[in-house]
Amino acid sequence: MLGLGLSTGHFRNLPHLTDSSRVPSKTAGNCLIRPGLAEPVPSLLLYLVLPSLLMGPSTAVMGYSFSLLQKGIQKDPTASGYRVGVFQAGNILGCTIGSLLCGLWLLDDFGTSNTLRAMMFIGVIMAAIGMISTTSRIRFTTMMIIILMLIAFIPTNSALWVRLHGQSGSSEIRIAEDMTGISALTPKANSQNWWIWANGKTQSLLPYGGFHTKLGVLPVTLVPDAGSVAIIGLGSGDTAWAAACRTTTKQMPFDITALLPATSTPLNFFSSVGES
């Protein structure tokens, strides 16, 4: 729990991303790479140092807890086999239930930030059990206070994702998340355009007109009689809109599969702007 809190604290230290620091990829979208990150040392920072800062503390604490638990359950040689079995079964059961709860319910209904809080609150419950059932009350009380402080330290869902998308707190950014992923809409600097993000990567621009538009227009205009259209994408609507260009002259059945349904939520912002 402590590791989780410390890791989350690092989110505040992530750099802001500006449009000038986003270099165009050679293809569809733009990539979240700062100039010069293709060089070895910055890549090392991005792919080794940053993940270590984010995941290192929690991983180290989890590993340390394993040795402590083993030490606790292997005191009596006659019962250690049974205890190890119960411990492993509990571990597997907890992992299974936890991943199902987070993936199917908590992330969808409460968001990442509140899910992190809920996970850390389990630590508060454990500390409370320790206070009641052991004589080390001061130690467990201290632990509970620290965890509660770390829970308070976790940013709100909006602040968390704004920062993780490299934006400043004042940015006009719209974010939606569900069990399939996270999507965002951010204004492009010095223009009327908006970036459409899917799972932390810019995928498309509003208004449409980039590479994804060609992915929709070119195949449906290749032949005189395109029968039907099936589109699989992240849900920005760019390719689907473009592929519908021939529906003005001919009827064409459409079948669209959005791999990231959350993308449609930020796009609704423009519907409301249009209505107002």
């Binding site: 590479f211 060609k214 070119l218």
Partner: protein, 93 residues
């Protein structure tokens, strides 16, 4: 079928899957079929132009320019490195 082809592996895999492939935008956009693809730029541009009211002139012009570079892709070679379910190379690189 039409796809974005961001890597040589995607390009090779697509050519392995489809017997007939047309490539545009310097190979970044691929169109594949089980039947031969007839590349007729003039007719293709005419059909794009029919949609200009829907697409806008800028996008129409962009797409028409892309058609100019359309060409049949080379067939797949057995030595080409392809992405498969068991070896999803691109997903981890």
């Amino acid at each position: 079928m039409c796809t974005w082809s961001p890597t040589p592996t995607v390009h090779a895999t697509f050519r392995r899957a489809f017997p007939y492939v047309a490539e545009l935008e310097q190979g970044l956009l691929l169109i594949g079929s089980n039947e031969p693809i007839s590349i007729d730029p003039d007719s293709w541009k005419a059909r794009i132009a029919e949609c200009s009211q829907y697409l806008g002139q800028g996008i129409t012009d962009d797409c028409s320019r892309a058609v100019d570079g359309a060409q049949p892709a080379e067939p797949s070679y057995p030595s080409d490195f392809v992405n498969t379910d068991l070896f999803p190379f691109d997903e981890f690189n």
